[in-house]
Symmetry: C2
Subunit: 488 residues, 2 copies
């Protein structure tokens, strides 16, 4: 049934694009680098959003909304920040069109030039910290724990749906604290929240770690990351949480009066995950038949297909099952389209990754049974109609665990310790995945290794074991291994 | 307790700005015409969004996401559409900044000019219909019922928080149908959905009607509207639903094959409500003490204030009430800040429009009572602790109904029928509100009346009674009255 899906082993990149297209997740738009997120893909994103939003609120954050545009001068206020974003941003220069004097459609009205250009936000630290200046006066105003769901634009040259697009959807948390310790604690709390979400909801195992100076967010003191492993052995940075120190507070002059009436600069964090998570979800679980969606994030968890078509007896059984499943909070659809054969429908629902499929035929019903197929293993079993809602409820939980464990085993098999450049290159080329190696701690060496192998340091894992060793490239002493990988 | 709030009768416009600021709803940003929606304001908007989203889904719509940018050439494809939006749009012309050769921050990199300028979407008909071209091939693909939650930009010269801002948040539905009748039905169904939301959730009475040709959406055949009345006697267009005919299908060549294998152009609708609704909510219910929020949309429905401060006995009573209220799904906060006096807290919560306030003091507790104050009437009563959750639940419903009825009475008193220009002007200047008058049906007369009085035709009410009359301006024959008003 794998219509027009490229085999993963033949061309992984094309396989991914095929899934995105054939499972109706997204498509390229008429605007370079921007995608259209189609209803089914957006349905999965909405499930992610709802869960993340719940977790943010449970940890004391509230949502707000800041402007899409950032005055050009704001970007320059934090030196590293502008360096990181100036080269890939969309710039608004005019605020009006006019009829083309030559009669061809509309042209930019030259008299409507803005005094100061506006940047479409690539991230919102600058506009938000400019606002926080007025919101924070005293220690009583802290901590300030705000999140924003928004679209952002980074003018990427090479794009790929969900993974890297010029416009993407994300959430960005921006918090302000009285002390460095509190801000660091927030940064780590969010890192753990992201990891929990990735593992428990997306069923995507992640490694928590710290970025090297070279891979840090532009303007951060420390960037924490969750790193996932895709089926082609490449890593995906799935979420980041930044400790910003007082960099933005100083750039935007945000001070508070402490309990002793002394003025101090505020400490900051920022953190975000984006529609890139959709790419991670797709590449972690899907197979050559199509998408596999974790039950907890599936807009549709169960589909019922009449065999071979609708019929009063089958309809009655279906209605009974639907009622029972809905009482459990399980989403279900009964496909009553008799113009399509069951086999065709099976293929369609496999492509879309619906976790559980029920086939109801008269012969099974005579035995008080239905056929239950699970998407992840493509296995089938006959199940009694009695208490089927409990069976399905357990099955959905079992699938959620099973696909996580499968991905975890896949990932764990692909963390390889090496002690020489030759082994490093060899593992990267043959096995892929994360390579754990000693590194001398300099950006120079890190960049050289990237030039030689395309691998980057994904992170220094949290709670890393200290051990003496020598850098695989320079032979200089090292106190701990770090994780390298080729990455998206 | 009305700190720094201007009296409505002294300066209505300033009163509105005061409420927006003092109730922590929104503030102006560093970007001209763009606002920051603050956490409390955004909390109310999230409640609105959640309810509307539920209603859209219950009526068969799904969400999707389309690009922020629209190629300039797309705007020109529908002649009236470009005319309506070209004069107030943000234009992206470049995709990179560079260091200023003179060393002053960053400047636009002239080598990074876009081949075709991109418009920040003022509305998405063009980019969406360009996409629908690929999605719609056959009658089996119809109807296509899609909604998008998004930010849009219209470069307005005169802005006011929520009511008119350069960037605003909204939802835009874009549906495609096989027949004109189906599309008209969708347009009207959404109009009714909007009216239901406005009246049942926002407690804001609205008049449903059709716009005149002069007031139609740029590119529509018919624009339906819900019109509310603010406390200063000015009307607010609160939501619109457009029947677009085949205009966009023709502009973007979107055809489908009908059941007889014949190609036909698709029929369209689009419809939207925006953060402007926040302005409507504020101006419908609030008073000189601050905001009044309808219980169904209040992020916080009940606040408990200890009198005069926390204490083991009071805490215990509060915990008991909180538990009982939460079991009813009622949101509640216990204000344990002993640095602030009760009176100060009362003022704060009145300013923010929390529907119900409970005061718990020891003397009341000895009588097994608490003090219950309702924000809308500023009335207080002593209520027994026993079954207080039922009392509050009923009270919240009562408040919801009561503020609607108050607004309805206010509105109904301000629909005045007049039969001469003198009366027309007189009513507008003294009483304000809607003026029901005969009009000869021409745009010319409509425009002239606006020039003379600043009043526009808000709508021709749905199910309007036909009656013979003469136009108040020209004396020409008219078959029905229409509703005029000054408007936001």
């Amino acid at each position: 049934m794998a219509k027009e899906i490229t085999n993963r082993n033949d061309d992984y990149s094309q396989w991914y694009l095929d899934i995105v297209r054939k499972a109706n997740l997204a498509e390229n738009s008429a605007v370079r680098g921007c995608m259209v997120i189609k209803p089914y893909g957006f349905g999965i994103w909405e499930k992610m959003q709802a869960q993340l939003d719940k977790m943010f609120k449970e940890t004391g954050h509230t949502n707000a909304y800041f402007p899409l545009f950032i005055p050009k001068s704001f970007l320059s206020k934090e030196a590293e920040h502008v360096e990181g974003f100036a080269k890939e941003c969309a710039v608004v220069t005019h605020h009006r069109l006019m009829n083309d004097p030559n009669g061809k459609g509309v042209v930019v009205d030259p008299t409507a030039k803005l005094e100061e250009e506006l940047i479409v936000r690539p991230t919102s630290e600058t506009i938000i910290w400019n606002t926080y200046k007025d919101w924070i006066k005293s220690y009583r105003d802290l901590p300030l724990l705000i999140n924003q769901w928004a679209n952002v634009v980074r003018w990427e040259l090479r794009t790929r749906p969900f993974i890297r697009t010029a416009e993407f959807l994300w959430q960005e948390g921006h918090t302000a604290h009285a002390t460095s310790a509190e801000a660091v604690e927030e940064t780590k709390m969010i890192l753990n929240l992201y990891a929990k979400f990735a593992e428990e909801y997306m069923a995507m195992p992640v490694i928590k770690g710290v970025k090297t100076a070279n891979e840090r967010f532009a303007g951060a003191i420390d960037t924490y990351t969750i790193e996932a492993l895709m089926q082609d052995g490449k890593a995906l940075q799935a979420g980041t949480s930044h400790f910003l120190g007082q960099n933005f507070a100083k750039a935007f002059d945000v001070k508070y009066q402490n309990e002793n009436q002394k003025e101090e600069y505020v400490w900051a964090t920022s953190w975000g995950v984006s529609t890139r998570l959709m790419g991670g979800l797709i590449m972690t679980h899907s197979d050559d038949e199509g998408l596999v969606v974790p039950p907890k994030l599936a807009p549709l968890q169960v589909v019922i297909v009449p065999i071979p078509k609708t019929d009063a007896v089958i309809d009655e059984a279906a209605e009974k099952i639907i009622k029972a499943l809905k009482s459990k909070g399980i989403s279900v659809k009964y496909d009553t389209d008799n113009k399509k054969r069951p086999g065709f429908k099976f293929g369609e629902y496999e492509m879309r990754g619906i976790p559980v499929r029920l086939g109801i035929g008269k012969r099974d019903l005579e035995k008080n049974q239905v056929e239950v197929a699970r998407r992840d293993l493509k296995s089938k079993e006959s199940v009694s109609m009695d208490g089927i809602e409990n069976h399905i409820e357990n099955l959905l939980e079992e699938i959620q665990k099973s696909i996580f464990n499968k991905a975890l085993a896949f990932r764990d098999e692909r963390i390889t310790s090496v002690d020489s450049m030759d082994d490093f290159k060899n593992v990267l080329e043959t096995k892929g995945g994360f390579v754990s190696a000693h590194w001398d701690g300099t950006t120079e060496t890190e960049v050289k290794i990237k030039e030689l192998t395309k691998a980057t340091i994904r992170c220094i894992p949290i709670d890393n074991k200290l051990e003496d060793g020598v850098c695989i490239l320079t032979g200089k002493p090292s106190k701990q291994r770090v994780l390298f990988a080729k990455a998206y």
